[in-house]
Amino acid sequence: MFTRFRENYIGFETIVIKEVVRVARIWVQTLVPPVIQMTLYFLIFGGLIGSQVRRIDGYTYMAFLAPGLIMMSVINNSYTNVVSSFFGAKFGRHIEELLVSPLPNYMIISGYVVGGVVRGLAVGSMVAIVALFFTHLHIAHPLITISVAVLTAILFALGGLINAIFAKKFDDVTIIPTFILTPLTYLGGVFYSIQMLPMVFSEISKVNPILYMVNAFRYGILGVSDIGIGYAYVIILLFIVALFCFSLILLHKGVGLRT
């Protein structure tokens, strides 16, 4: 029993190492672009436009924006990493190396998810460092900041995995990010507080799960939030459990992997 677990753990570790090496090897594609993009956001939205915007909850727009952009990087990169790596493995057929091995599905999922989390947090940290050039980042609740970032990264890594499982061609890898993820992120309180919205729209915003994550993370750093922190944790955890179970079922059935 214990040996079995140890063997599985070695398999899991192998996937993680492979994923991290992949991110590091193609760092020009994986790490640099998001950092450049976020730096531009800081310059344009935070610096140029933000200086014309009044304070939100007592913070400058730049200080308000920073946690949102960090979170956006975490979300995008954990998702993108898994969707492209796993779909690449499907497309290049080397996913078969894992399918023929005795490694259980939950370990395969965990390995890829951790790979995504590593990239999400790596880019998030780099964006945080960039933010330090523009504003002062005082972290009000370190534990909340870190746990929300990690949990959100896990959630979107799982999302990326499911996307990759269903994807049949390269185009399918970008459909969900373009039509669902990006809109929800942009409308999820990264750039504004929902209190700035008319009543109707601020209520509609509350069905957007990303709003809760962004706000929980902002609460961790600034100590202010549009919504309750407890809600945020419940929602994130529920999503993680649901997506994990869903991906387990998909792998078990071999959807998109076995004929």
Partner: protein
Amino acid sequence: MRDKYFGVLLLCSIRPQFPAVFAFSTMQALSIRGLTKTYRNGVVALKGIDFEVGVGEFTALLGPNGAGKTTTIGIVTSLVNKTSGKVEVFGHDIDTQIEIAKSCIGLVPQEINFNQFEKIFDIVVNQAGYYGIPRRLAKQRAEKYLKQLHLWERRDDMSRTLSGGMKRRLMIARALVHEPKLLILDEPTAGVDIEIRRSMWEFLRRINQEGITIILTTHYLEEAENLCRRVAIIDHGQIIEYGRTKDLLAKLHTETFVLNLRQPLENLPPLDGYAVTQVDDTTLEVEVSKQQNINALFELLSKDKIQVLSMRNKVNRLEELFVRLVEGKG
């Protein structure tokens, strides 16, 4: 029939270094019962296959394109979901003990399926990792098998820079790195030059002698005849013949002899009881059944004043058998 041979076979396969073969004499390395597969597009690839491979055996799965070889192997290695039937690997049912079953198998697939952008060494080490082998040991194993397959010098190269034959060898090294009890190779020598093919055969023979059960699929009949003690012939999703290669050959009741004649033959006299075809003026092909007396044939010939210069056995008997079996039922 098969059971009768089984006893003999067991005796043959006992090697002093492998008493385990004897202890688990009833356990098969692979046992397939009533296996069927209908693909989602409606193609019926397997129509109920029964097939057993004894521990320590070297078996060929022989069949034309589209016969169902890769499908069968895919099911055994859980790359393909079966429609119905039962598969056991060393007694472990793939429905209930899939992980143990998988850990017994090493697969060399028909098509290249490693990451073309990964280093050769990493491909083998990572595969060991998926099977739960600690990294240090994995690296030692990778070195051992890459050396055996003459790829060690290329270990730091990207795998896409290998030639086709080297890529196949890389897949063999990868399949062996967790030291499986059953090695399954799906057309390992397709597109490999003769020299390398022979050295691959040599290698496979050696590891079989060291105790690894081997199943390979092939279109090269010479390959099956040379390597495999047992042959299963598969066509249209059915096993149409299965047994010892030798017995299958004996099953082919007739042998074909090619006779070279001294004088050109105007018209062929009837040779009672023999199927004769005239290939050209001075060449006859005669099919002689195992029970028939070959002297009688020569008597008939000399009675008709036909002098035979030389005679040879027509080569690739298994190929003939194969064609006959496939055409007869196809």
